[in-house]
């Protein structure tokens, strides 16, 4: 087993006279046995990156290394990887058993050896009684298990996933996630998982890599990405409901800093050194806070003035929508909360406030 090193990976597409930079100099290392998820919105370059690692797309520049093998120019057949596709892509004219055995057949394994491995994998994935069926007879979840089995029997060096659960419903996703984790643990190789679903990213990964517009914004374990985002983009992408943002004013003098939002004022306990150049003078600043850390006060003069719009009761919590001078704000409130379109005040919990540069989106504090 080995690690995966992606260095300065760039992919540029020519569209007539225009250049589309799909991937812009990505650096990423996936350690042996590590599960890294590549997340980002549609079109951000994550699938392109994955396909370059797989060998299905040729990068414009940069290198990809598996352990001590440089694979940048190796054809996909020789990379010894496994790839799970979004549309599953099982071979409809073969039985499940033959589907799973195909890779081994190409490699020249004997029939007994092939089928033995298939039986083993089928047992792990709990599809032993589907082996003689054709893929058309299986449900979506079972098909994905077969696809996993197809990869499992080959004992690959690197495991790649291309949004494999996008076509499945929420219940199936929840069912399949532990199966994926089980399989990748079993093989123990580095895993790169691409998805646009941040929940999948958070639940399955050792580290989350967030991509925006071809650039890697942050690569950290899920908890860090959640609590300590490097940029406004990361903060707004991770977490559901997403981070709420406000425009405020930061005034720093003599070691103490005060943050003003609307008519709320905080004294922040950060020194000017912590504030990355924002320590002196006054600056416009972007303030982010997660909806779980906003308190709704019945006194409209306390905090930010807000008019309640509607509630989305989820059972264990409620997502309440408010109209403020900053636009629509979502707050996570108690399950019993009922806004009744009244006037409220939104109070932000200081300790969870995150500050971002209003222009670059970089995290300030």
């Amino acid at each position: 087993m080995s690690d995966v090193k992606i260095r300065d990976l760039t992919k540029i597409y020519q569209d007539g006279d225009d250049e589309i930079v799909a991937v812009d100099g990505i650096d990423l290392t996936i350690d042996d046995g590590e599960f890294v998820t590549l997340v980002g919105p549609s079109g951000c370059g994550k699938t392109t990156t994955l396909r370059c690692v797989a060998g299905l797309n040729k990068p414009t520049s940069g290198t990809i290394t598996f352990g001590d093998r440089e694979v940048t120019n190796l054809p996909v057949q020789e990379r010894d990887i496994a790839l799970l596709f979004q549309d599953i892509a099982l071979y409809p004219h073969m039985s499940v058993r033959d589907n799973m055995a195909y890779g081994l057949k190409i490699r020249g394994f004997s029939r007994e050896e092939r089928y033995a491995r298939v039986e083993e994998a089928a047992k792990l994935l709990q599809i032993s009684d589907q082996l003689d069926k054709s893929p058309a007879e299986l449900s979506g979840g079972q098909q994905q298990r077969v696809a996993l089995g197809r990869s499992l029997v080959r004992d690959p060096e690197v495991f790649l996933f291309d949004e494999p659960m996008s076509d499945l419903d929420a219940k199936l996703k929840a069912e399949l996630r532990p199966v994926v984790e089980q399989v990748t643990d079993e093989i123990g190789c580095p895993t790169l998982y691409v998805t646009h679903d941040q929940e999948e990213a958070m639940t399955m990964s050792d580290r989350v890599a967030i991509i925006n517009d071809g650039n890697l914004e942050q690569v950290d374990p899920p908890k860090v990405v959640y609590e300590d985002p490097d940029s406004e983009f990361v903060s707004s992408f991770i977490g559901q409901p997403s981070t709420q943002f406000f425009d405020g004013r930061l005034a720093a003098q003599n070691g103490s800093t005060s943050l003003t939002i609307s008519d709320m004022e905080f004294d922040l306990s950060m020194s000017s050194a912590d504030l990355n150049g924002y320590g002196e003078g006054e600056h416009d600043i972007r303030v982010g806070i997660r909806p779980q850390h906003i308190r709704v006060s019945n006194d409209p003069s306390e905090g930010i003035n807000a008019t309640h719009i509607l509630d989305e009761p989820l059972g264990d919590e409620t997502h309440s929508f408010f109209d403020t001078e900053f636009g629509e704000v979502i707050v996570v409130t108690e399950p019993e909360f009922e806004g009744r379109e009244g006037e409220y005040g939104l109070v932000l919990d200081e300790s969870y406030v995150r500050l971002f540069d209003p222009v670059s989106g970089d995290r300030v504090a």
Binding site: A54, L56, P75, V76, Q77, E78, I81, A82, L83, F85, Q86, D87, A89, L90, Y91, P92, H93, Y102, G103, I106, R107, P135, A136, R150, R154
Partner: protein
Amino acid sequence: MSTDTPSDTDGIFGLGYRAEEKLFSRLKQISAAIFVVVGVFPIYWMLQASLTTRERASSSGISWFPTPETFTLENYEVLTNPDVALYVINSIVVTLGTIILVVLISLIAGYGLARFNMPQKENFARFLLLGYLFSPIVLGVPLYLIWQNLGLLNTRLGLIIALTAISMPFAVWLMWKYIQTIPEAMEESAWVAGASRWQGFRDIIIPQTQPAIIAAALFAFALAWNDFTFAQILLPANEASTFAPGVFRLIQRGYDIARVDVMAVSMAMTLPPLIFAYFMQSYLLKGFQIRSL
């Protein structure tokens, strides 16, 4: 206030909906019957003439139905006539050759068009179909001259090549569009498993293109088996001729070939396509079922 019984005067001609449905159903049946009669009658005519004795046919002109006295299979003996037998064999060889060549080439061309990009691909494809604008007879003279130069006149190979070329645009178009419906992810997953492009093509694409292959084969079969124009032009010598022009010549020369014999041979030559199409039907359907995954 009932809203589920249709009004009795809202249909066509002032009939109720039920009556309208019945009327259309009847009309459908009648038009189907007309088509059947018009289509099947010539074949029936052939069949019954081929089973009637020579005397009966020539004596009283038209016979509608072979009676027990006049029923005979002796007319089919004409198939053993060396000339006729040659025609039949030539037809079989040429048709088989055309089918094989058409399927092979269209598979590869269709795959190439479906999976690779080249400049002006769309225009090239449209250009392919332009060939069908021409009536075959227009191509007759140039074809004759070129074939003569190449030494392909009076050869079965020459006719096979010509018929293949005529079948190509449709077959290639068919394969191209059909292979396009097979997701690239399937081949990619085979490549990931270590299969080369050729292995992927052999193991993944070809098994799934069965319906298209059969359709192309049927098209080539129909074109080649029934071809008269090209066979007539490219096989001027009697020995090389296929069935269609061959029998035509026999009749023209007024040889001692009776009408009933012609009917017998024609009947014999009509059967293969019928049988072929009948059996291929089920493969065609099975293939479509697989792709519904």
